[in-house]
């Protein structure tokens, strides 16, 4: 029982942690959305409706979790043209971007 409570608490804390870590300063948010529109957009479409890369609309991304999407941004997808954005985007910025995408943002 205690073990379960600990596990639940850990999960909840992890949840809070990720919310906190997804906070990005306003100016950086603007930069990230510019990057999303113009640089991600060169493959995924400026309106994120797809191109050589898949669409990044909320509907298209519905099957995927925030963690998976953030990891894809950071590490890329080997075997596809998706490059790792780690040099330019931090992990918590990637989580924030993934959240925006899941919420259906159109930059």
């Amino acid at each position: 029982m205690t073990r379960i409570i600990v596990a639940i608490t850990a999960i909840l804390l992890a949840g809070i942690g990720s919310v906190v870590s997804a906070e990005v300063p306003l100016q950086r948010q603007t930069e990230l959305l510019h990057l999303l529109k113009h640089d991600c957009g060169s493959c995924h479409g400026m309106r994120l409706e797809g191109g050589l890369g898949p669409a990044l609309t909320a509907q298209r991304l519905a099957p995927y979790g925030i963690d998976f999407l953030a990891l894809t941004i950071i590490q890329g997808r080997p075997g596809t043209p998706m490059p790792p954005w780690r040099p330019f985007i931090s992990e918590h910025e990637a989580r924030w971007l993934a959240q925006q995408l899941k919420q259906g943002i159109r930059p």
């Binding site: 529109k37 113009h38 640089d39 957009g41 060169s42 493959c43 479409g45 400026m46 309106r47 409706e49 797809g50 191109g51 050589l52 890329g76 043209p81 490059p83 790792p84 040099p87 330019f88």
Partner: protein, 392 residues
Amino acid sequence: MRLIRYLLSALLLYSGQASADCLTRGTGDMGIVIERADGSVQVLDRRAHKSLFRIEGLGDLSHASAVYSPDERYAYIFGRDGGLTRIDILCGSITHRIVQGGNSIGGAISQDGNLIAVSNYEPGGVKIFSASDLSLVADIPSTPVNSEKRSKTVGLVDATDQRFVFSLYDTGETWIVDMTDPANPAIQKHTQIGQLPYDGLITRDGRYYIAGLFGQDGLALLDLWHPEQGTRLILKDYGKGEQKLPVYKMPHLEGWAMAGNRAFLPGVGHHQVLVVERGEWNPVTKIPVHGQPVFVMARPDGRQIWVNFAFPDNDTIQVIDTESLQVIKTLKPGKGALHMEFAPRGEEVWISIRDKNELQVYDTRSLELIHTLPAANPSGIFFTSRAHTTGL
């Protein structure tokens, strides 16, 4: 009473003229620039360095490109959202507009100027339209990838003998479509050309079609004088043993530069311009440059090569001398230097600087900036001289 009628008819005549405010001039020194974020196009006078019109309502123009009618009066603009728009550059107006697909990547005009072909990612395939009214002439679906999806088509160009050539990204093919009889397109398919062709080009003389491959080293070459020989892999050892860098922007092959007997092309995943001998297609050398090249374009006389770069180096342009194979100038025109277009005789080059909302004009002899024009997030620049060049 008669006077009033006269005044009324004069007024009508005047307003009629005012609404049809078309220019009376030649178009040989004109062009357009795509304003990607606004879905608009500016019509340019490239000799006067002046904007003549701004035309709005063209949809999603990220990655948009354009071709010209043989009389250089109409431009056909291919939007990302499947939009195909015909504009009249003398009147600054849209004459026809259709949305022909869900997601598109460029197009071409036939040798005789009567057909417009558009390459589609979604639904995968090529559609061909009448150049005069954009009515559908032929629909050529690509190879299915699974039950729901067909291969994306890329690298669509016009070729001699009324043909179009394009490649299939997912299935690794190059198709030649002969439109001599528009009612019966004759399709020749070359399969297994290589993995993930991402773009294609045709040499200016229309002889060679070359597809860049993302999924493997090398390029797939098709000799259009001898299509029966099929494609062959060239430069397959290029980059071997070297660590490839992540690619943040796919290079473009459209501007593949030929200078004398040498071709200059972007090294995918490398900070290099590759120099190749035409004919045998053997590598001559690699020129180290500032970043990963996107467009590698020759000044029309072949004396200089101008190169722009992928993110995060897209604030830089370098100029290479084709005799010494050295970088002779590094320019910092601003962030988002996306596209370059030379005057047909090469005295000037126009560069679009996306994040500065600016077009910059450089003198190619002094390599100095000589003029700037405002433009909203400009990308592709297209001068009317393209009307007379195979593959453009």
